[in-house]
Symmetry: C2
Subunit: 391 residues, 2 copies
């Protein structure tokens, strides 16, 4: 027999109403009880009693009187963003970035750790513990006031199990990350793919604020994408969504097990850099697309060709995603940032030639911080107003 969720009870409706009040309070600061009644469509007495309860619990503060609108002055309220904290951590090659944030998602302190032996999973887990200690000390937060830790990892992560199921670049396949860290720290841990978290970061705090459906495309050593659908990050049936490095773009060739996908084999930063080495007299460590563009601008024909070919195929990747998902917005990140205005324009032109519904295009706005912002927000989303659910 097939059952169902959520039996409607009197507790449930209270929880919903508390949640609604908190949400309104998070979205607009300096709001009175009367305002909340209007916003939530609850009666004034009901709002008053719930608010008083939450003031007792330390979730809300009274911050003084407001100006009269022709009657008694309102008592302004504020969500107590400092009531709890969250920690975000992201592995990036040989460094680990950590940050502690309040319930608003505002970063309080950052910390960075260089991993001496980048490929050692156990060591990496230990440095999370180390970084956490530093952040707690600096911020003065007690561990009991942390909601949890969000952790960004390369490869395909199994969020539910808390393990890594596919990680060609680090070799941490099968590592039970969540369990180990939770045991070591006694805090809830959420793991996720790094590109997913960057997507979440840009969606909540960057170029994607206010949109409901967007795609985030990242071109780096590999090529990946994150997908937000109906305001939710979509992770796929096996948490392998957005693995667009495996799209069939460019020459196919033979694929070796455990290797990169066709698209990234042809047009990742590493691949383009490799091609450039055959053409350019000198290849530095900066943005490869800028280096190629510089030579192209100076009239080097082969450079111009490589540039055009690369842009065209990146545009093809974008067009494929746009035609399939019809997002409102497409955020370009990683090496795509360096395309510049002309590059962006040529991609827009291609899209309008190719697909019927062209999404808005924006460059990512958070830079290096996208991943850690996302990690922070992944915890905030996993525990929606934590305290409200204690009822």
């Amino acid at each position: 027999m097939i059952g169902r969720a959520q039996p409607g009870s009197t507790k449930l409706i209270k929880r919903m109403n508390r949640e609604n009040i908190l949400l309104s309070l998070k979205a607009n600061t300096g709001v009175s009880r009367a305002d909340l009644a209007k916003l939530t469509e609850l009666s004034r007495p009901c709002v008053s009693s719930l608010v008083d309860e939450m003031i007792q619990e330390g979730l809300i503060h009274e911050i003084g009187m407001g100006t009269s609108k022709g009657g008694r002055k309102p008592i302004l309220l504020e969500y107590n963003f400092a009531a709890f904290g969250v920690v975000g951590a992201v592995f990036e090659g040989s460094t680990m970035q950590l940050a502690i944030a309040d319930l608003k998602g505002d970063t309080l302190y950052r910390h960075q750790i260089s991993l001496s032996s980048p490929m050692d999973g156990e060591k990496a887990i230990e440095s999370v513990a180390e970084g956490l200690k530093v952040l707690l000390a600096r911020s003065g937060f007690d561990k009991s006031r942390l909601l949890g830790i969000g952790l960004g990892l390369p490869g395909i992560t199994r969020r539910r199990d808390g393990t890594i199921s596919y990680a060609p670049s680090t070799g941490w396949m099968g590592l039970p990350v969540r369990k180990e860290i939770e045991e070591k720290l006694g805090l809830p841990v959420i793991i996720d793919n790094d590109v997913n978290l960057m997507t979440l970061g840009e969606y909540r705090r960057g170029a994607g604020i206010g949109y409901s459906n967007l795609v985030y495309m990242y071109v780096g050593t590999g090529i990946g994408a994150g997908i937000v659908i109906d305001k939710q990050l979509y992770r796929g049936a096996r948490e392998a969504s957005g693995e667009i490095g495996y799209m069939m773009i460019g020459p196919i060739g033979k694929r070796l097990q455990g290797e990169f996908g066709v698209f990234e084999k042809n047009y990742s930063v590493s691949a383009v850099r490799e091609k450039a080495r055959y053409i350019l007299p000198y290849v530095g460590s900066g943005s490869i697309i800028r280096q190629i563009a510089d030579y192209a601008d100076r009239g080097m024909k082969e450079a111009r060709q490589l540039l055009d070919d690369t842009c065209k195929h990146w545009a093809i990747g974008i067009a494929n995603m746009a035609s399939m998902l019809d997002p409102e917005l497409l955020i370009l990140s990683g090496e795509l940032i360096h395309l510049g205005e002309e590059g962006l324009h040529s991609i827009k032109k291609s899209l309008s030639d190719w697909v019927p519904s062209v999404p808005e295009l924006k460059l990512a706005s958070l830079g290096e911080h996208a991943g850690i912002m996302g990690a922070i927000h992944s915890v905030l989303e996993a525990f929606p107003s934590e305290a409200a659910s204690r009822v």
Copy 2:
């Protein structure tokens, strides 16, 4: 200021509980009040009173006694699937198919109308009215007992507005279909893209039953896809999701405004048929891929090449979708049905070479009826247990 939805009231919890009971009752027939209490996690008295209420309203029936499990015999209940009806209608080229169904989604009667002037939008709308009359007469349903009409149309539909925003094949661009039919018939109308409805049909009644994330791929005159994410049909920001005919697969060429996309220009049934004309001595009207395969099997080299090339590029389309969305299941439909076991196998092989997370592959199982099934279910989903929400 930013407000919020759903003020939690005592009415809401009753509605939720009624809804839960109805859902359990829809999913399993022949269930007692005691069973429902277990399924919904409500108390037995609560279930009893809600059930009695709904029996009064005609939503539920008692269907007799069950067998004792060591005590008093249970009174078995059944959802009254005949309480309301829904109508589905689908335009397909020059014919319109209609069907009337009960709340279970089981088709009661079908009807088909040939459109004398297929491209005349007004005429088409009139035939919906005509078909509805026939179905009501045959089934004995009164119009007041219909929840609504689901209507499948080619092109990009604006579901909210009820208009058509892009329809190169019919030219019905901008037609306010919903408004006109609602005014003419006095019934709620839901319009949707035809491929979306086929997807919904297969998801609810065909190859996709039980899955939560799937992609439906249709190859016909055009190429399109439907996307189900987290048990919801995803329509895209501008309702243009799944327009995979515009993926960049095969030679690009110049795209003319209002024309087909690159993928479908190269590998739709019409495109492949065109290529076949240059190769095969005779091209009939049946499945084009079967015709090519027959010549290939008889040793004709060019036919074999065309077959392989076509399969390969269809597989590329599938791989692109799989790598981006990581669905559990991919349903193949339209001309893809005729690939047969060998074709399916070769596509599976390609996929496992190309992408890291290979979805299950199935052939569509509803054939011609997928669209109309979907139309029916689109109404059922838009009015979830209609009567329950009257509370």
